[in-house]
């Protein structure tokens, strides 16, 4: 399961590095994406990527700091959403 989480985090980080950051900028799994790294437009693009890539529909009430702070918190949010869907 830890591998799954890491795989999700890596896919998110790959997207962030390739599409949202200036060349040469680095980012890790736990790094704060919101404070300075990404601007508001980039955050929206990231949320769009997460929805599309992982089959979610992020509702406004899910679009909060706790869920999008870092690659790790996005991965937790994705897993929670998947579990909730399977359970429900």
């Amino acid at each position: 399961m830890a591998d799954d989480v890491h795989e999700i985090e890596d896919r998110i980080l790959a997207y962030v590095r390739a599409e949202l950051l200036a060349s040469g900028e680095t980012v890790g799994r736990e790094d704060d994406l919101l404070s300075e790294l990404l601007d508001s437009v980039a955050v929206l693009r990231l949320a769009g990527f997460v929805d599309q890539e992982f089959g979610l529909t992020t509702r406004p009430q899910d679009f909060v700091v706790e869920n999008f702070e870092s690659a790790a918190s996005i991965a937790r949010y994705i897993r929670r959403s998947h579990t909730a869907r399977q359970g429900g």
Binding site: E36, P60, Q61, V64, V65
Partner: protein, 521 residues
């Protein structure tokens, strides 16, 4: 100002940030510590002290500390590219910089190009720079003087120099005096009846004129400022939760932020009944979004505020309870301003006719900071002297904004006279974006143009001609050179640029083809 608040309300909250409070008594101590430290480091009246910090308690502590030292505050946008920071530091001739540990890398790089900056407050050291004297915050904090330095400061002394984003070339450096700042602050506190019970939002970065209201007007009234951190501002659902938790009563921002709140802020789930005033400025508020937001926040009054960094706020329009007129007026001149609408020869035009807005008022800047060769903006070009009788003159500021005066005295905004546009509330000169594009290797011709985005603001697109690998490489190179909001969201590679018959780049044609493209996509 804070001395008074601190004496009467030492135990009242001055600033809230990240769930923590800074009381007026504590703020006075921190500001005093900064002021005495700066004096000891040689700061004297009218010296420029640059402040490069992100949102947090360091903002008010350094703001009031620099002013209490008798110096001129130069707040720098922490998101500026290094070359921009260098330009500002050099242009104002700063010898002292106040910053924080997380900016050590940027500061070290910038100071490599700024030999005059000899003192840095907020860092332990700068690697390889023994010649720069550094004093970390914990050492500043050991000073516990209850009195501020005893210094004579004149109302006509410069209080702060604010900068515009100045995409590539050169930022405009706008110099205000204590008098122009306080005129705005006093007017704002009065107009919106601010009291010690109020809690004002701080949405904008500390280097903007919005922050003047957020911090100084709050302190003037003994109210609290609630700092909205960048992470929260990008998440409307978190933002509205914080507004509820902090019981915000006065909000001031660009419309974009409010559009986001309205669209994604789950406002129906929040109790924002404490919110009594919403002020917005800097851009047109798209009517459908404004209408919806007013329905979502029925208890709040809305005020459309107009001005620029050069003049603070000079007109305002309080929306009536019923449906607001369209287009939304920018209102009438404030009590401390006079407005004239003139033609190209600077002659007044009749009511209902469009002309340029001239402003004469107590809140107007004293001028652009102008070191030869360093800044592009010239005070001479924007100030107009008009006879006032008895051999005296009134000095009017040319806003560059096209307006019309309606029969009821309200003004409506009709666009810019030049190529300046607003992107999510940030000023961008398209010409500067074009020079940045041209500085990319291989680019021969470039045109930047604006199209409306889906939320009522503008986005920048660009077309380039030349031998560059791909559009993406051009964009990637711009990211380090321009502030994020000025980077075109799309760059297209063309064989030639469309031209008008007179040989000018045909931006209209570019905009048309961009819209067609978007419809296809």
């Amino acid at each position: 100002m804070i001395v008074e608040a601190a004496q009467h309300r030492a135990e009242s909250v001055a600033v809230r940030c990240g769930g923590e409070s800074l009381l007026y008594g504590e703020l006075l101590l921190r500001a005093g510590a900064v002021a005495h430290t700066l004096r000891d480091l040689g700061v004297r009246r009218q010296d420029r002290v640059a402040v490069l910090v992100g949102k947090g308690f360091a903002v008010p502590a350094s703001f009031y500390g620099v002013l209490a030292a008798g110096a001129t505050l130069v707040p720098i946008d922490p998101n500026s590219p290094v070359r921009q920071i260098v330009r500002i530091l050099r242009a104002v001739g700063a010898r002292h910089l106040v910053t924080e540990p997380k900016r050590a890398g940027v500061v070290a790089e910038a100071l490599g190009h700024c030999p005059d900056v000899a003192h840095v407050v907020g860092l332990e050291e700068i690697e390889g720079r023994d010649d720069v004297f550094c004093m970390p915050w914990n050492e500043v904090g050991t000073r516990h003087e209850t009195e501020l330095p005893d210094i004579a400061v004149l109302a006509s002394d410069p209080s702060y120099v604010l900068h515009t984003s100045g995409s590539t070339g050169v930022p405009k450096l706008i110099r205000h005096t204590h008098s122009s700042a306080m005129s705005f602050v006093g007017w704002a506190a009065d107009e919106y009846s601010l009291t010690p019970d109020d809690r004002l939002s701080n949405h904008a970065s500390h280097h903007t004129c919005f922050a003047t209201f957020d911090f100084y007007a709050a302190a003037y009234a003994g109210a609290a400022t609630v700092v909205l951190t960048p992470a929260v501002l990008k998440m409307p659902g978190s933002l509205s939760a914080l507004m509820e938790r902090e019981r915000l009563s006065v909000w001031y921002s660009v419309p974009t932020a409010l559009v986001q709140l309205s669209l994604r802020g789950v406002l129906e789930a929040r109790d924002l009944s404490a919110l009594r005033w919403i002020l917005f400025a800097g851009e047109t508020f798209p009517e459908k979004h404004l209408r919806r937001l007013r329905q979502q926040l029925p208890g709040a009054r809305f005020s459309h505020v107009y001005g620029s960094t050069e003049v603070n706020v000079c007109t305002c329009y309080h929306l009536p309870e019923q449906e607001a007129p369209s287009p939304l007026p920018i209102g009438r001149p404030c009590a401390n301003a006079i407005a004239d609408v003139v033609d190209e020869e600077l002659r007044p035009v009749a009511d209902g006719e469009e002309g340029e807005l001239l402003i004469c008022g107590d809140t107007v800047m004293s001028g652009y900071w102008n070191e030869p060769g360093e800044t592009a903006a010239s005070s001479e070009q924007v100030f107009v002297r008009r006879p006032a009788g008895g051999g005296f003159e009134n000095v009017f500021f040319r806003t560059g904004d096209r307006v019309r005066r309606l029969a009821d005295g309200n003004l409506t905004f009709g666009g810019r006279a030049d190529d300046q546009i607003k992107v999510r509330g940030h000023r961008v000169e398209l010409g500067e974006v074009e020079s940045a594009l041209l500085s990319v290797e291989g680019v021969e011709h470039a045109a930047a143009f604006a199209v409306p985005d889906s939320e009522g603001s503008s986005k920048i697109l660009a077309a380039v001609v030349g031998s560059v690998g791909s559009a993406d490489t051009v964009v990637a190179q711009l990211r380090g050179r321009l502030p994020v909001h000025a980077v075109p969201s799309r760059v297209e590679l063309l064989d030639t640029l469309p031209r008008t018959p007179t040989g000018k780049v045909d931006r209209k044609a570019l905009r048309r083809s961009a819209r067609t493209e978007e419809r296809k996509g």
